[in-house]
Symmetry: C2
Subunit: 331 residues, 2 copies
């Protein structure tokens, strides 16, 4: 099992050398890291600049993933592969040409909206869901062309279904759980899950407590049962892990994620006035090292070795092979 | 002669399909194109976005040059290779990390200053020349690291000499002429020329009338004599062409080049209140097609075939081989 390819479909970590070391020692081979929420393009370039320095200063521990083969190269070298992603489309501002520019800078995954309405799509916290916008359709075409994954983790239902329909490449929900497992605005209906399955997309299961039945008290067994049920519903090839692991941030960053610049009030997102802060993690998943615990849980649930390998990394790898490859479509 | 590699060390053209066709038919193999003067990073990204569309829409005529081999590839394919360059350091704003980001987006040449003082160096129109600044030293180091050419075409003398001294890679003056040929703030002293020669840098001779003896009335013979004299002074390997060909722009663009956002008045740059507009070109150089006329002029001046080949392109090629290659220096 220690030789298994492990890919985490989303983490949001305030990285430093110690955390890179921990990630590398954890056995995780590649991580999709969030590098923007509400940042405009200028602020995003600064974040990319910071990452460029990380790649230079910690070249012994991490490397950028620009194509699927880089994931295997990272594994061979014993480094952690890093895939850049945005949890919102703020970085492209109002300019479709920024998609290619950000792709040139290494960005490979972008959510069409965070919790709110964006220029492209509706977020899962809005009352009305207008689906994919005019600009959204152009951006989907451009993301398809350059090879940037459309991620609908935080988007509303109609927008998500339309994105699946419009996109010429399969799309991803990098980090969320099924609604049948736990009722939350961020979790996904059977309809969305099935559409993901039929279109050869991917869903990454989240260990963020707000997405779990009974929150931090969710058991590993309940989690793995849910994985099993989803596999039955949409197929073993369409599922992976997107832990949504958040590490080393203070409360102000949670405020930034939730409230950006769009409200002068306080938005608690998935939290509440009583519990505004970062939630406690379930005991069986407190860091990347616990990816093996998940694998063991799946084994106990009756998954065979090949099935476990798929869920823990192989499915993401095949998805990224299709997703990052050169232009499907001309201009 | 029609098989000769031709590289133009600088053009500033308002490109469209017709002009790309003309460039391709002219026999010029690679052009260093200016894509920013006073643009900040956001505006520069827009310019790069426009170029990305050019590369897509005119893929039969042009291709980006990111490494020296791309120049030979462009020649093989019969396309015009395009090297991105800035005539000022405005695009990096106050952020050294933008050097690598712009390099990732294909930029390979940057002037440390235009006519004015910049954050990095002094421009040739200032009264005082403080040399390379603290930030300038950091940027030179970073440009050396990533492989971006330092261009001092519009910089003042002390700044230029210091840049040559500080840089671990040879630097370029992509477009200017010797002061001994024509007295102008933009032309270069013997001291600068010799320092360029000794450090294995390059100077590209300009056909912009303000840099020529007798302006538009300068004869081809006088121009070629000057090339010969410079070759004697600094060596046949250190010289090339940087035509400074400007095409298809209206007067407002000349105003932007000269006055940017730094004055509410009018700055005439190399022009004057009496002759504010674009100057007429010398009759023997009105477009890229006339590069062969230069080559013929050099032949009449007594240059042999190999020498002509060096001046017209081979010297730039060797210079770019050294300049664009991967990191010389770590971090």
């Amino acid at each position: 099992m220690r030789d298994m390819l492990i890919i985490d479909g989303l983490q949001y970590v305030n990285w430093n050398r110690q955390l890179f070391e921990e990630a590398q020692q954890s056995g995780v081979n590649t991580i999709h890291v969030t590098i923007a929420y509400w940042e405009n393009i200028r602020e995003t370039l600064q974040n990319i600049g910071t990452w460029n320095r990380h790649f230079l200063n910690h070249a012994d521990l991490i490397m950028p993933v620009h194509k699927a083969e880089d994931i295997l190269e990272a594994k061979r070298l014993g480094k952690v592969g890093i895939i850049f992603g945005f949890q919102n489309c703020s970085p492209i501002e109002d300019d479709v040409k920024m998609v290619e520019i950000l792709h040139q800078l290494g960005v490979r995954i972008m959510q069409l909206s965070y919790n709110n309405q964006s220029f492209l799509a509706t977020g899962c916290y809005e009352d009305q869901d207008g689906g994919i916008t005019r600009f959204g359709k152009q951006v989907i075409k451009e993301m398809n062309r350059v090879g940037m994954v459309i991620d609908m983790s935080h988007s509303a239902e109609i927008s998500t279904l339309e994105a699946i329909e419009l996109s010429q490449r399969p799309i991803a929900i990098t980090h969320a759980n099924p609604l049948f497992f736990h009722k939350a605005l961020r979790n996904k209906s059977d309809k969305v899950l099935k559409a993901i399955g039929e279109s050869e997309g991917m869903i990454g299961f989240s260990m963020y407590p707000f997405h779990l039945k009974n929150g931090p008290d969710c058991t590993l067994r309940a989690f793995c049962e849910m994985v099993g049920q989803t596999a039955e519903m949409i197929g073993i090839d369409r599922i992976g892990i997107g832990s949504d692991l958040c590490l080393n941030w203070d409360y102000s960053v949670l405020e930034w994620m939730r409230s950006g610049r769009w409200t002068t009030g306080v938005d608690y997102g998935e939290g509440s006035a009583e519990k505004p802060s970062w939630p406690a993690q379930p005991s069986w998943f407190t860091g990347a090292k616990d990816m093996y615990t998940i694998a063991e849980g799946l084994s106990a649930e009756g998954f065979n070795e090949e099935q476990i390998a798929k869920v823990m990394g192989k499915n993401w790898l095949s998805f990224f092979e299709k997703s990052f490859s050169k232009s499907l479509i001309n201009s």
